[in-house]
């Protein structure tokens, strides 16, 4: 029986009609759509019982307490910890990303050595040990060590090793703690400045971005929230003075616009008005201070800072009226400020009777070193890494034969970043202990992978900004990857190989000694509890008027426009770069694709003849960045707000090549009197691209 064309077509029609009443097309379509959702790289949930471990973030500069939810031994979520004084039910956008960052593609998985052709090759730990020991021994004391951990006892170990090698070049990465320590020293005081925000009824933050990035920010937010019970009148007033209406200004009751870097002058303007209203303080150099403050009349302060005179007077009046006022000075981007600015802020607190008073400024006790030959905290904070690098650049200091970095990324994070990378290149041997392959690691000869805070035993002692002395442990909650080693034990063993006796056998011994020095109970700490002390240092500090007079900035920044860097924790730090999921939290007009947006107000844009989205070049003698314009009326006239944390040239696809690094534009200057390096007052010229 032959099948002709017509018969075949009829058959095909029958098949077609039949298929339509079978599951084939519909099921295939449905399954294909499901198939497209199941790519192998999509992470899947882990089944199992949840357990929770209290610990503290070593990644977030706020040192926020957190509870890690584990399924088996896998951390799956970071949650707030109601019982931790630095969390109080809150969590930072950086800490919350930690569980995910354990799996970051930028993690260093094994020791790396730079080969002769410049490429990295993976080596064994034995080879790495031998190379590091050989180079440090050969350096014969020509060694510098830089730590990016401001609160940990690792600094005792690192500074002891550096000291025993015959070098005094141990440095902490720049932060707000250093000018604060200089200020305390200039006042003849002792201890660490603490800020009792919880008990204050009027908080004036001058430059300090207290609700976004300054100090113990999550605890600051908890204090802010506690004073604002739902449906009731706020129990405290928050005022922010700074060049940009940032998140602190947005939350505060009042925003007082002042130019970037003029926080000290603003505080002295307040001091002038307080003294005029009869405020005084029992300090030896009160009259010298009063004379200095007398020159900061509202008119002069208005000229220096750009503040509205009436607003300045209103703030001074409100401070006098408040029962427990607190003044916090700082930098909007957490670094680069001088000691004079802090001294001016402390002076206002002293005039308000706020020193060691509930809801005021406190001098908190600091534990001494627990490793033989380690620096004291005051000594560590007295060292200025930027100044050291500048001296090397100027030929005033010799580049060391070896430089060791611990969780520090100076090649990205220092002001004039490109210049700093050039200076680093002069150091013949560089090694870094790091979790991520950052910009500094890319310059090093040896990269040693260390575990993340969630994978190691570590500690946090009274972070700057805290209102009370405290000590807690970061406990290992996740298994450590196979080829990483905790730095504490490693450096103690390395020192032993180099013939140095640090007086401790293990890293845990160091932590136990620190716990004892802080007056904390080790077992309780290991249970996840926090040791908190309400004690303060009794002192009768002076105003440091002499130092203040020399250091207070009365000159405007160079260039026609001021740069106001904006620091947001969600964008990450120099150590972390942008946590992958946090890319979603970067706003549309902060970063668009790979292009940076900078913010300026309408008046500035008109003056420049630019509109939103126009491409501009912001440049000064330190460097230049290109960006597009966003119009935001919460920026002062003639000021450009630039988001920090972008423009990475290392890490992974989630950070690399996105935007520009504002640190390129921040020019280092030196404060008269203290000699401290400062970079909080950068100017620039702007041109259309």
């Amino acid at each position: 029986m032959a099948v002709d064309r017509r018969g075949f077509l009829k058959f095909v029609a029958g098949v077609s009609a039949g298929v339509m009443v079978t599951p084939i097309p519909w099921k295939l379509l449905d399954d294909a759509s499901i198939w497209t959702q199941n790519w192998p790289w999509i992470p899947s949930n882990v089944d199992g019982a949840s357990t929770y471990v209290s610990t503290v973030s070593k990644l977030c500069p706020s040192c926020v307490g957190m509870k890690v939810r584990l399924v088996g031994d896998r951390p799956v979520r970071v949650l707030p910890d109601d019982n931790h004084p630095l969390s109080k039910g809150g969590i930072s956008s950086l800490a919350v990303a930690e569980a995910q960052m354990l799996h970051s593609p930028a993690r260093v998985k094994r020791p790396l050595k730079r080969a002769a052709d410049g490429a990295y090759v993976a080596i064994s730990w034995e080879e790495a040990d031998a190379l590091l020991a050989e180079k440090l021994a050969a350096a014969k004391g020509s060694l510098a060590c830089v730590s990016g951990d401001e609160t940990g006892s690792i600094n005792d170990v690192l500074s002891a090793m550096t000291g025993k090698a015959g070098s005094s070049n141990f440095y902490l990465m720049p932060s707000e703690a250093q000018p604060a320590a200089k200020a305390v020293a200039a006042m003849g005081g002792e201890g660490q400045l603490g800020y009792d925000i919880e008990n204050s009824d009027y908080v004036l933050a001058i430059g300090a971005n207290i609700l976004e990035s300054w100090g113990t920010v999550i605890r600051n937010r908890a204090a802010f929230k506690a004073t604002r019970p739902h449906g009731e009148e706020p129990a405290a007033t928050f005022v922010f003075a700074g060049p940009v209406q940032n998140n602190t200004a947005a939350g505060a009751d009042q925003w007082v616009p002042i130019k970037a870097g003029t926080e000290g002058a603003f505080a002295l303007g307040i001091a002038h008005l307080l003294i005029k209203a009869g405020a005084t303080a029992d300090a030896a150099d009160f009259s010298a201070f009063a004379r200095l403050a007398g020159t900061f009349t509202p008119a002069k302060v208005a000229e220096l800072t750009g503040v509205n005179e009436d607003q300045l007077k209103d703030v001074a009046k409100a401070l006098l009226k408040a029962r427990r006022p607190l003044v916090i000075t700082g930098s909007e981007f957490g670094q680069g400020t001088g000691a004079a600015s802090v001294l001016a802020g402390v002076a206002v607190n002293m005039l308000l009777g706020g020193l060691n008073r509930k809801g005021g400024l406190k001098l908190l006790p600091v534990a001494g070193p627990v490793v033989d030959g380690a620096m004291t905290r005051a000594e560590m904070l007295g060292k200025d890494f930027v100044a050291y690098m500048s001296r090397i650049n100027a030929g005033k200091d010799k580049a060391p034969a070896a430089m060791v970095f611990y969780e520090a990324n100076p090649a990205y994070a220092l002001p004039q970043a490109a210049k700093m990378a050039e200076v680093l290149a002069k150091v013949p041997f560089k090694a870094t202990f790091t979790t991520f392959l950052d910009e500094t690691a890319m310059l090093c000869d040896l990269v040693l992978p260390v575990p993340m805070g969630l994978e190691r035993l570590d500690d946090v002692a009274t972070p700057y900004g805290s209102g009370q002395a405290l000590y807690c442990l970061a406990r290992p909650v996740a298994p450590m990857p196979a080829h990483v080693k905790p730095a504490g034990d490693y450096i103690i063993a390395l020192a032993g190989k180099l013939g140095m006796d640090l007086g401790v056998g293990t890293w845990e011994e160091v932590l136990q000694a620190k716990a004892r020095a802080m007056g904390a109970d080790w077992d309780s700490l290991m249970d996840g509890n926090v040791h908190v002390s309400s004690s303060t240092v009794n002192a009768q500090p002076a105003f440091g008027a002499g130092m203040l007079q020399k250091g207070i900035a009365t000159k405007a920044a160079e260039g026609d426009y001021a740069i106001a860097p904006v620091h947001k924790l969600n964008v990450g730090t120099a150590k972390t770069a942008i946590p992958p999921y946090n890319n979603k939290t970067i706003r549309r007009w902060e970063l668009q694709g790979k292009e940076l947006y900078v913010a300026m107000n309408g008046a500035t844009a008109r003056k420049l003849g630019v509109m939103k989205h126009d491409k501009i070049v912001v440049s000064n003698k330190s460097g230049s960045i290109s960006a597009r314009v966003n119009i935001f009326e919460g920026v002062m006239n003639d000021t450009v707000a630039v988001l920090m944390g972008l423009g990475h040239t290392a890490f992974d696809q989630f950070s690399k090549g996105k935007g520009e690094n504002v640190m390129q534009l921040l020019t280092v200057g030196f404060e008269s009197g203290t000699g401290l390096s400062v970079w909080n007052m950068a100017g620039a010229t702007i041109s259309k691209a």
Binding site: V15, G18, T22
Partner: protein, 209 residues
């Protein structure tokens, strides 16, 4: 003109050659067989549980209940399947003569390895299903389900089986054939009466996270 026949030269009429609509119906039947019988055979592969497990022995022989193994944890999350550790509470040593039990002890209990049980109704990660919210207590506010009846609304009743059912895995999606589709959830979620009493609306984010 004589050559221009519209009909075949042999004189048979068209209806008689292929039965008129016959090819159409042949095609139709072929497609139906292909679609309803051959296609499912091709789409799903058959798998068996890694360990032969008898619910009957455990329920009738050992007097256990469903919730002895399938229970809610204290935090409200659902334990789902027992761990090797919990099985080892009884099976640290063989309790019977069954060679499968001996194999289970040797391969899993002695090594601490978890059994990769095949879950017939495992939902994808983008669906958040809480057993706690669908408990007997909550459903029996209106219904009068026994535990078995309630569980059987979604799961096959295996309480009296000696052998676990065959697991059919979709070769394309890798999900079980019995994975619940959304329309089955909507039997309750899209029911206005349910919404009134349970406040579980049919909104996307009730289930999808």
């Amino acid at each position: 003109m004589a050559d221009r026949h519209l009909h075949p030269a042999n004189g048979n009429s068209a209806p008689s050659q292929f039965g008129g609509a016959a090819p159409f119906f042949v095609g139709l039947v072929v497609a139906l067989i292909l679609g309803w019988w051959a296609f499912p055979q091709m789409l799903f592969s058959q798998k068996h549980q890694p360990v032969r497990f008898s619910h009957k022995v455990h329920m009738e022989g050992a007097g256990m209940e469903c919730k002895s193994c399938h229970f809610l944890r204290e935090d409200g999350s659902y334990a789902g399947l027992p761990t090797t550790e919990s099985c080892a509470e009884c099976h640290s040593e063989p309790m019977g003569e069954d060679p499968e039990e001996a194999r289970f002890i040797e391969e899993y209990v002695n090594t601490g390895k978890e059994v990769e049980w095949l879950v017939y109704q495992k939902q994808p990660d983008n669906v958040f299903f809480s057993h706690a919210a669908h408990s007997v207590d909550s459903c029996n506010n209106c219904h009068e389900f026994t535990e078995t009846e309630l569980c059987s609304q979604c799961h096959p009743n295996v309480a009296e089986t000696d052998e676990a059912p065959v697991y059919y895995e979709n070769k394309l999606t890798k999900y079980s054939k019995q994975t619940m589709k959304m329309w089955r959830c909507e039997r309750c979620h899209a029911n206005p009466e349910h919404f009134g009493t349970t406040r579980s609306s049919n909104a996307c984010y009730v289930c999808h996270k």
